[in-house]
């Protein structure tokens, strides 16, 4: 018994002086435990990300020929509103009247449209996600005649670009393509 005690004592003195195999085992065990815990936690955390059916959400097809000049419609894509506006020549001219590089989120109007008269943007304010006003006749359209977000006062122009207010970026242009002359597919 006495021998064992003295033995273990000298051993602990040894380990203090220079890291030995025992320290390696201890560190490796902790590391293994940490990796295991992280691996076990991952499914519990990742389950909160969009599920397969949510990701597989269908794209939206829209017949845009029915929108007359100066009119706008709202369609749903991925649970969000998408604004489609058939712009008047005046609205297009106003969007191009300003040098896009001087804006808060610099972008030219032509980079935001496939056909100048048809503007397609996600109708979600880039500040904190409200739906801006300006789709219906009689809506407040803001100081730049595009859209106005009433939540915290963001003004968008006729190209959906942010001009004034707390929103950091322009209204997002969703991916879309023309299936025919009249029909676009969003997504």
């Amino acid at each position: 018994m006495a021998k064992l005690t003295s033995n273990s004592k000298s051993m602990s003195v040894d380990t203090k002086q220079q890291p030995g195999r025992r320290d390696f085992i201890v560190v490796a065990t902790y590391a293994m435990g940490a990796v295991g815990a992280a691996a076990a936690a991952w499914p519990l955390i990742d389950q909160m990300n969009p599920a397969a059916d949510t990701l597989a959400l269908a794209s939206t097809e829209v017949d845009v020929s029915k929108i007359s000049e100066g009119q706008a419609i709202t369609v749903t894509w991925r649970g969000k509103p998408v604004f489609i506006r058939h712009r008047t020549p005046d609205e297009i001219a106003r969007a191009n009247a300003i040098d896009g590089s001087e804006l808060p989120d610099p972008q030219e109007d032509e980079a935001r449209v496939q056909r100048p008269e048809l503007l397609v943007v996600v109708g979600v304010c880039t500040h904190l996600g409200c739906v801006p006003l300006g789709q219906k006749t009689g809506d407040v359209k803001g100081e730049y005649d595009g859209w106005f977000c009433p939540c915290h006062g963001s003004h968008y122009d006729t190209s959906g670009r942010i001009r004034k207010g707390p929103a950091p970026t322009n209204l997002e242009v969703p991916p879309y393509s023309f299936l025919s002359d009249n029909v676009i597919r969003i997504g």
């Binding site: 909160m48 996600g129 950091p168």
Partner: protein
Amino acid sequence: MSAAKFSNPVVRWIDHRLPVFTMLDHTANEYPTPKNLNYMWNFGSLAGLSLVIMIVTGIVLAMSYTAHVDYAFESVERIMRDVNHGWLIRYIHMNTASFFFIVVYLHIFRGLYYGSYKAPRELLWILGVVIFLLMMATAFMGYVLPWGQMSFWGATVITNLFSAIPLVGESIVTFLWGGFSVDNPTLNRFFSLHYLMPFLIAGVVILHIVALHRFGSNNPIGIDTKGKQDTISFHPYYTIKDIVGVAMFLLLLSVAVFFFPNAMGHPDNYIPANPMQTPAHIVPEWYFLPFYAILRAVPDKLGGVLLMFGAIAILFILPWLDRSPVRSARFRPVFRIFFWLLFIDAIALGYLGGKPAEGIYVTLSRIATAWYFLHFLVILPMLSVFESTKPLPKSISEPVLATTVAAE
């Protein structure tokens, strides 16, 4: 810790094996409490009562509530119209949530006035701020459950706050939503967490009380108790005083529940959620308004979010911002003025948060926001150095005895 002092043999038998009665006895009869506590010390027990009411009514509501975007609104209406006493239970849950915040705000301002956050009660204070944060998260998620217009747009705006974080912001928001907008997965997880968090709060409350019992309550004159002459036992003196507070609380709560059940709510939340249309004027629940005002005061998205969270985070380091050795504002004439200015500032922020973000309201919000941070970051540290405080009494008994002598 002798179990023998209980006369009931069953109590004695249990206590010998599980000393719960000894613990209760210790809290009620042995735990020394300063004898000069005023009614500002009632709000702790009232906060505890509020939590119990929330948990009891919440568990009962959950028996009739359906967490699905197609049924949530209807199930709440069914609770209001068809479920036996459902209207009562829901109105109690709704209004006690508001009362809970009133009580906790008063509890916090009590601490600010009497310097209860100072050594050795820093951790007690920090645990309190943690409870406050958990309460805000719980109330926010609860408000989403009825799935009205305010539920939906409140959830949208608040979760979008995280999109301000550079690089990973968007992924975090998608993660919180479980999709590309606030939708059914969001509602489901909010219900799950809304059920969980009150029990986490209860856990932190226990730690809060353990920390409290380490050094006991602070008191209106803010000096340490010096011995038996300064203290009285909790029971019956403070149990009876707490019951007076409870009676007042329940009286006022009943007035709200039975006569003005929707006064602190928003009519738009009786309109079912519509993801395609934001209400013209969205406001959070009243208890979030001061923080909402700070968010909107800043013209920059990330800046606004940072200041809003900063307004709460600053409370964590308060014990180290205010270095004055004197706790109670009674002996700090200059601090006292600034305390009331902060109080008015907080009310002003609350008022401004409920107004539209335009014109004079924006300017005023900016001034009030600046003042809030100035108070904590500049004024308090400066006062700690420059203020000349009034002389402190030698003990709690001294001023009490002095007034008695003077009165005779």
